[in-house]
Amino acid sequence: MARSRLDERAIAFRVAKEFSDGMVINLGIGIPTLCANFIPLGREILFHSENGVIGFGEIIENPNLADPTLINAGSQPVLRRPGMAIVDQAESFAVIRGGHLDLAVLGAFQVSEQGDLANTVMPGKSIGSIGGAQDLAFCAKRVIVAMTHVDRDGRPKIVRRCTSPVTAPRCVNLIVTDIAVIAVSGEGLTLLEYAPGWSVEEIQALTEPHLRTSPTLREIELL
């Protein structure tokens, strides 16, 4: 069978399967943002963005219809939805820090075996951007990382120890990449799902730490 990698939308689709009805969720910039387009049918989700909007709708991909006074944390215009609420920056982070956020989906440069997250200083740069990532990673009830499995040079992004500055230690619960879904726990990493055509050995070869195999290991379902 042909081995292929999931594209960004397919990664987002798989992440969105983790969304359950009534959850309050924050989506980071990049692949995580796309998850808003794949909410499983019949589930009502409240999306929270750092700039203080709770319960907004899809990204508006038409500048003629966009309202510049209603944007998400990636400065993209979003739809107004009934039930939406707007607060200021301090209140927005009271929501995060106070433990009112069920899930944060974040991008990463590296994730360690212990679930340490590094997503602040881009490789090759001397200063970084932290945004709301640290508040989210420390305080959301659950953290999912959505990212490519390897970097541009083909090096593993799932590593024994992060070489890039750590945003938050031991915070990641689940990693969804273009070739695998991996659970993180105190005991290490467990391979739960693989992209069509990929073997455990091939995924392990692109992952620094040892992957245990789940007894229910299966192919990623994209429907």
Partner: protein, 253 residues
């Protein structure tokens, strides 16, 4: 009589001195950015500023790139000037920000100046920044937060355990000026905001000795419903109205 409305942006910042600390509102979009106040500070030419803002900004050099990148989603107006202008012009000696570096391989004005050793950068988690500003407004000198414990953002800070969790002592950020953007104001300085433009603007109002609000419109006292006012005028010292048509940053307004 209370009347906080000031006739021009230049007048609104006329008492600003070298070495001032400025809170600059907005998040990342153009509609919440106090562009004309920033332009007035650029024209005044005050130096050695400490700026506190979510993002370090793009300045004039990257403005066109930003506008091109965002074109499929939003049309940026001609009169969008962000705090990057102050960095480009060498007016800033320290930047306290949560977004210092650009995502991608371009370099923001702050990245360039920091690499040259001309600007000191303090990278602060966004929520910690918001709370440090809110604390200043509320007269709280410092507080403990779990965010950042054990990481580089906690370096040099006191750490203490509460309920079994390590927490970091964070100091309030009090400033000389807060430059903010709002939608409507009355002469008392009461403010309302449109949509997501509330963000850091409402948080920063009142966290400085002088808060200056750049607004779209001034309305008669009583037109803003008391229950709908987001920022009470007690936090605001000056209000200035934006021009009805766009003006270049270097033209007095």
């Amino acid at each position: 009589m209370i009347d906080k409305v000031v006739g021009s942006f230049d007048e609104a910042v006329s008492d600003m001195r070298d070495g001032a600390t400025l809170l600059i509102g907005g998040f990342g979009g153009f509609a919440e950015c106090p562009s004309y106040l920033i332009a007035a500070v650029a024209r005044k030419g005050v130096k050695n500023l400490t700026i506190v803002a979510n993002s370090a900004g793009w300045g004039l050099e990257f403005r066109d790139q930003l506008v091109a990148r965002m074109r499929p989603l939003l049309r940026y107006p001609e009169d969008y000037y962000d705090q990057g202008i102050l960095i480009e012009r060498g007016q800033v000696s320290k930047a306290i920000v949560s977004f210092a570096a650009a995502i991608g391989h371009v370099q923001t004005p702050l990245e360039k100046k920091a690499a040259a050793g001309e600007v000191e950068v303090e990278l602060v988690p966004q929520g910690t920044m918001a709370e440090r500003i809110r604390a200043a407004k509320a007269g709280i000198p410092a507080f403990y937060s779990p965010v950042g414990a054990g990481t580089f953002t906690a370096q040099g800070k006191e750490v203490r355990q509460f309920d079994g969790r390590e927490c970091v002592l964070e100091r309030a950020i009090r400033a000389d000026y807060a430059l903010i953007r709002a939608h409507r104001a009355d002469r008392y300085g009461n403010l309302v905001y449109r949509g997501s433009t509330r963000t850091f603007n409402a948080t920063m109002a009142g966290a400085a000795r002088i808060t200056i609000a750049e607004v779209d419109e001034i309305v008669e006292l009583g037109e803003l419903e008391a229950e709908h006012i987001v920022t009470p005028g007690v936090y605001v010292q000056r209000v200035v109205v934006r021009p009805s048509s766009p003006r270049p940053w270097n033209v007095p307004s």
